[in-house]
Amino acid sequence: MTRYLTGRLLQAVLVLWAAFTLSFGVLYLLPGDPVSIMAAGGGDTNDISPEQLAELRKTYGLDKPVLEQYVSQLRHALQGDFGISVQSGEKVGHMIGTALPDTLRLTSGALLLALVLGGATALLGTYTQWRWLRQVLLSLPALGVSAPTFLVGLVLVQIVSFRWGLLPAVGNEGFDSLVLPMITLALPTGAVLAQVFAKSLRTTLSEPYVETALAKGASRGRVHFRHATRNASIPPLTVVGMLVGNLLAGSVVVETVFSRTGVGRITATAVASQDIPVVQGLVVFGALVFVLANLAVDLVYPLLDPRITTSAAVAR
């Protein structure tokens, strides 16, 4: 177990370093830089002189050779310091830290809802013997996967908030404001889960032991919900690890549509203004979440299926 964890941690460090380096490279390859965007003032095409720009670049160390900037940023990042935002002067760690609770509420709520919706759809869709219900339920996931998040969000806002006036359209105040964004974010995630889970259930249900169980007199419900469900939940569990990352990405769109504060909004603003230190911090944060979520999933496998051992996972 210790060997397994050490291996995983080393992998994690590698992933984090790769994410850091890749994002640094991409940001430097982009035309323009944070300083010229800041100087443009976001609106009018201001007439700022090359000298003034050079002065600003110096302030942020952007005039140094790329390699030197990379090494210095990496050194600071290793100490947990991602520097300050070029745009607002705020500490990057502080920015992410204050935005995190809002995003956590949103994404964990959405994940829970997705698990319930996706799980229920798959279980019911494979269990029911009414052909029409089965077809309706099993075609829902495809619909959910293909509907663009921002469109779903906008439609929900238009109907539920603007037409019916039931829930607020924007903001972070209270549970009310969380409902629509949570649903919007949960739909595509739940749809993927349902697809994978339903497929896995169908495969499991056609295995010989199911027939054996049925022949031995176990009820159809018991076989479906106890035996098959447990065995079929390995693939959706693997997917959950990746979906956590997707939820974080989805929060960029959802938080923008619903004007919520959070990590997603910071990401959108930072990328638009090429605020390198903030983007770097966010990329590493995102990679960390991804790594942790997948590690958690790996640790849960043996609980579901004793045949899987953690050391084998590393050897793989």
């Binding site: 035309p31 323009g32 090359p50 705020e90 906008l154 603007f162 924007v170 909004r265």
Partner: protein, 538 residues
């Protein structure tokens, strides 16, 4: 959808819409200043205004974009104010001033009794601290560093007299003192480094004080009790009417309009041209004002082989059908450009006669210049195609469609333009590189000195102009302290820029707001940004 139970509600909705519409129509026909229902201005209330993007930094001395300037403007007072109707500079914190004949020294006499919200007095020392501070901010003061170019220093003559001196004539400085950018902040703010005063620690003497700014969410401001030193332009002398002012950040334009329509906010900024008809038909009032400064225009780079020929530039000026662009791409709130300055700029002169749409005249010019129509419809001369590169930045939604329409208009006369888009930041870099024939853009500034920034061969000179006559006129307006004499120079400069077609103005950027019926007297100041002091809710 055809559920009969929903019927009565729909009838009711349309009835309400009709009532609201007729009310709005009635209000419009009398006077826009009139308040329907005949209620009078009164104190109190909490107004929520939706911004289109996060302000990022609401320090008035550092801010550059509208969404930062709306909340920032309310926190500070300026030495002077500018009448948006006449362009005249009038007293605010300074009750009087004197400008030296050569426009290098400006002496301000401050009113007594004004204080910053931390209790410290607004005095000559504060003026000096602020101007010194802005110069120290350097390029971080995106606008201010330009206003204070050539700043020699401020002398504290006595408690209420400050003398500001420049190394070279700087006539635009007087107007600059009326802007939010040179608005005064308390010493406790000025001494802080730039990044510490973006979201917090902003202490001014303005009619509102900052309660809280949460990035990406909202700016909360509260009325300053005991405020009595408002601008001489304002009809109300005491504190603002509104108790509280909230600027909410709602980036998605559909959600912004929907929030207004469903009453979740009272007013919105950044109304896109395509959203205007919907808001109007739902009974909301649209309030608009053209932004002063340089209108949206194609600005020539005359160092290039084709654009160095005046005849080509003039031909393009004649081919572009401004009215068609406004009618097709924009909305009724927008106007075609009528000079090299927007109509709300001080010293603006209507030169629409020079900007007529005359395709036949243009084609004659192109023929005379030796550009003959080729087999593919594009003109050629000595084996070279009449093909021009236009660079543009994404600072205004309809830019792309407007440029595509221009592209079609020019193509009919045998001119091909290729469009290269850029992010706002990249646009600056592209312009410095100079690999283009025309750049597309605008600049907001009330003072006509913006012409010098844009077209003087002695300054940035992105267009590579070498025009002694124009440089001379631009310098003259910069060193003329008498407003009437200065206006004459400015008029000449506008005419020269158009005569030589250094700039081909197309339309005026316009600030469009959507307001609910209960918002009254939300005023545009001279730069078409917002002033909430006299705003009240019914």
């Amino acid at each position: 959808m055809s559920d009969p139970r929903r019927r009565p509600r729909r009838v009711l909705t349309s009835l309400t819409a009709v009532t609201v519409l007729s009310l709005a129509a009635g209000a419009c026909s009398s006077s826009s200043a009139d308040s329907p229902g005949g209620s009078t201005p009164h104190s109190g209330g909490h107004l929520t205004f939706a911004l289109a993007s996060d302000p990022i930094c609401i320090d008035p001395q550092q801010a550059g974009n509208n969404d930062a300037l709306y909340p920032a403007r309310q926190l500070v007072d300026s030495l002077t104010d500018q009448d948006p109707r006449t362009g005249r500079i009038v007293p605010w914190l300074a009750k009087s001033w004197k400008v030296s004949k050569d426009a290098t020294t400006f002496t301000f006499t401050l009113r007594e009794g004004a204080t910053f919200s931390d209790g410290t007095p607004v005095n000559a020392r504060a003026v000096k601290d602020n101007f010194d501070g802005i110069v120290k901010l350097g390029a971080k003061a995106v606008l201010g560093s330009g206003y204070l170019a050539g700043y020699k220093g401020t002398t504290v003559v006595d408690e209420h007299t400050a003398e500001v001196a420049f190394a070279a004539p700087n006539a635009q400085f007087l107007q600059a003192t009326s802007t939010f950018t040179l608005g005064l902040l308390a010493a406790s703010t000025v001494k802080l480094p730039a990044e510490k005063r973006c979201t917090d620690n902003l202490v001014g003497s303005g009619p509102f004080t900052l309660v809280d700014y949460t990035p990406n969410k909202s700016v909360e401001e509260r009325r300053r009790a005991g405020y009595t030193w408002g601008s001489s332009l304002w009809s109300r002398k005491g504190p603002a009417y509104l108790d509280k002012l909230t600027f909410k950040v709602i980036p998605e334009s559909g959600v912004r309009t929907g929030s207004l329509q469903s009453g979740q906010v009272d007013a919105i900024g950044g109304v896109a041209p395509q959203d205007e008809p919907g808001l109007k038909s739902a009974g909301f009032s649209l309030q608009s004002r053209a932004n002063p400064g340089l209108p949206f225009a194609l600005t020539a780079n005359v160092a290039r082989p084709i654009t160095k020929d005046l005849r080509v530039r003039r031909a393009i000026q004649k081919i572009i059908d401004r009215q068609e662009i406004v009618d097709t791409v924009l909305s009724g709130s927008y106007e075609p450009a009528t000079s090299s300055l927007a109509s709300t700029t001080s010293g603006y002169k209507d030169l629409s006669a020079q900007l007529g749409h005359d395709v036949a005249g243009a084609e004659k010019l192109l023929d005379a210049a030796g550009w003959r129509t080729g087999s593919d419809g594009i003109r050629t001369k000595d084996g070279r195609k009449l093909s021009l590169k236009v660079i543009w930045g994404a600072n205004f939604g309809p830019n792309q469609t407007a440029l595509e329409l221009i592209q079609q208009q020019l193509k009919k006369s045998g001119i091909r333009i290729t469009l290269q888009s850029a992010t706002i930041g990249d646009f600056i870099a592209l312009r410095q590189k100079g690999d283009y024939d025309f750049s597309w853009g605008n600049t907001t500034r009330v003072d006509p000195d913006i012409l010098r920034t844009g077209f003087s061969g002695k300054l940035l000179n992105f267009g590579h102009l070498a025009d002694r006559e124009l440089d001379g006129v631009l310098d003259e307006q910069a060193s003329e302290s008498d407003p009437a004499a200065r206006a004459a120079h400015v008029a000449r400069a506008q005419k020269l820029v158009l005569d030589k077609a250094y700039q081909i103005p197309v339309f005026e950027l316009t600030t469009v707001l959507g307001l609910s019926g209960k918002v009254h007297d939300l005023d545009f100041e001279a730069s078409s940004r917002l002033q909430f002091h006299e705003t009240w809710l019914s």
